[in-house]
Symmetry: C2
Subunit: 460 residues, 2 copies
Amino acid sequence: MKTQEGVIYQAKPISGKLVGEAKALIEKQDVRGLEELVAKMRPADAADLIENLAPEERAFVFDLLEPEGAGDVLMEIEPPVQERLLSGLDNRAISEIVEELDSDDAADLLGDLPDERARQIIEAVPDEVSEELEKLLPYPEDTAGGIMALEFVSISVNATVQDAIETIREKREEVENLFYLWITDDDEKLAGVVSMRDLVLAPARRRIGEIMNPDVISTNVAADQEDVVQLVKKYDLVAIPVVDSQNRLVGRITHDDIMDVMEEEADEDISLMAGVIRQEIAEESTFRISRARLPWLIAGLFGGILAAVVIKQFESSLERVLAISFFFPVIMAMGGNTGTQAATVVVRGLATGDIGLTNVGKRLLMELRVALLNGLICGPILGIISGVWLSDFHLGCVVGAALVLIVLASGVIGSAVPLMLERMNVDPALATGPFVTTSNDILSLLIYLGMVTGFLSLFS
Amino acid sequence: MKTQEGVIYQAKPISGKLVGEAKALIEKQDVRGLEELVAKMRPADAADLIENLAPEERAFVFDLLEPEGAGDVLMEIEPPVQERLLSGLDNRAISEIVEELDSDDAADLLGDLPDERARQIIEAVPDEVSEELEKLLPYPEDTAGGIMALEFVSISVNATVQDAIETIREKREEVENLFYLWITDDDEKLAGVVSMRDLVLAPARRRIGEIMNPDVISTNVAADQEDVVQLVKKYDLVAIPVVDSQNRLVGRITHDDIMDVMEEEADEDISLMAGVIRQEIAEESTFRISRARLPWLIAGLFGGILAAVVIKQFESSLERVLAISFFFPVIMAMGGNTGTQAATVVVRGLATGDIGLTNVGKRLLMELRVALLNGLICGPILGIISGVWLSDFHLGCVVGAALVLIVLASGVIGSAVPLMLERMNVDPALATGPFVTTSNDILSLLIYLGMVTGFLSLFS
């Protein structure tokens, strides 16, 4: 991945050649060779290598890493693989890693361990580390407190630029990737922000209060992580200070954490919409993957059986015109597709903040218009085809009219349900889940079979 | 949204009260009052306000903004609304806005205008602006060149820290949000990076070459924007330098651009998977929304008619046992759900880089195992229920066995198709599109009707 100039151009998946090389060294038990190979790699690249090894080879490579480096590599490894690696390490090894990690990573790692083990680790690490952990662990995972780190730099509004530089120098090792210096007033409350760039340009004796920007955007420690993401994205921030209810600085969240949350939230929405419940993409256990997918399949199975019961009610119509059953797939696909389209746009809009709850009426009206238009286009097509096929122009009209109604109903339900769920504080991504899709299927069948049966009983 | 301390806690959708206030001022044509209201707002907040006004009110507010501020507000407005606003502005107004924008935003804005208008604007703006635009416009939108800005700060490896600070001071107005100083060697090639933090801590007379980190990660100007995102995420960068084929620095991409691309790509994948082709969430035109959704509906319509033709081939089985048709919905739902689940995990994994093409065999084998397991769980359930219902234990067995096969086939197809598309350089998100879902529906019906028909003809 490196060119001769030492410049990386592309984040390609790790090369098969490198994985092969590592595998050969492992087979030869060539510790020296492996150490050399891994020493040259950045943490993210070493993590890629380890993920691509067989489970029994991973620990061999991981154990060669120094405690300082091992933590950074571990944090880059996908959760299911990370979990397996951790379960193979003893408490001493984990404690050493935890000591070297940033506070937020250490808390995440501990949060993933079984309770008993986490307690043992907390007892084993030095006091300053366990104090930090006990500050962070109480916050729910999906809040600002749950993703923030305690490593930040702040200084009093009365300090000078020179004081600030000295403080940054002292915290040089502890706080990596420093972009902003946060300023506190005499009551320890967040009062402003100075960017590193402005600090570079400021005269050493200037008072910080004079160069700071008092218009600082912060987030409360209890805020939902999705709200934090929207705040950071809206105002293009690189890091955001986290404050308590008294507006005192308690932590910081950096851009990389925000990107992780963005990806995690998109993953979750996409999975839920496809009926997959919390499956890690890197999951390797057949049973766990199966368990993540079965609930929707089973729900869909019983929904389908309910649809069968519905169809049975119209048995006499089917006996008279068997061809009615030929159109079940198209009727269900059209209802399903229309509903999914509308629901997906609304779910995504709610997730990114592009759709709010202020304009629900306007959104529903628009979806209604779109569904009506699309129904009026698709209905006649199916009407003409089925009319010609069945050599029954009137029945064709009824089939076409049923489709118009089905598209209309599905479009409105597809957009209304996620909005309703959001208002009820339920994850709107469930709107494309088993309940709604099955209801849509059954409703579509009911409209279709009801209209056709009505027509048959009227004209015979 | 502001508390008394001037601190914003949450990126909430704009308040209805504020929108109402603005509407009242517009109705009274109170220019002074509106100017005061808008002057206090950040660009992103003013953009929110404008989006929430009626189309005819928006221009009234937008025209009140100063040219410097107007551009920043415009860039925060959702594309469909932005487009409408721009079409109402004359060339002079647009030129003034373009002059004030960062180069990447200016190029984006021009790229969205009709060609003829874009040319007129390029002729109207000062030479230094049009030169920048002509540098950026040739790059395709979805490459590093298409998202980079020309505003960056670089300095020679031989300069001193003091020289660097002077350069930053000179470019203070031009380059906002500066996090890294990039270092070039005697051949103008990218040779290293210095963070603003390290610059703060370095003695003024130190040579830049001594404090720089030579291990700088860059991206080529022609790289796909998705690869750039993966690179930035993998190595937790705040900004990435863009180089040409000679490794000369040509631009920079910052974290906010990366977040925009992440969101854009996730939007695109989610939309495509739901059969919505490039619909902006904020789109307000019924016809455009309809046009974004119709292709899949029409494709699904004809796919469904094809399914009807398939069913017709098995007419005689249906005539013998009408109840066979009752299970069409459950058969199709199970095939569809299994396929969607498998496809979604693979599509998302490919998009985030968690799944590569190195381990295709392993992934397929795992999906095969999962599908087999889930099939073996769902098949017997349906078998028993249908057996009892139809009072035909043997037919129930056949229905159950058909479902096992359907789940197996759908799971394998659902995971194999996106991998195949990725290898062919086609967007894998299409794997959940009309072609695959319709094929899955038809395949499921064929397996089901084929097995049932075989059974009926054997045992009668």
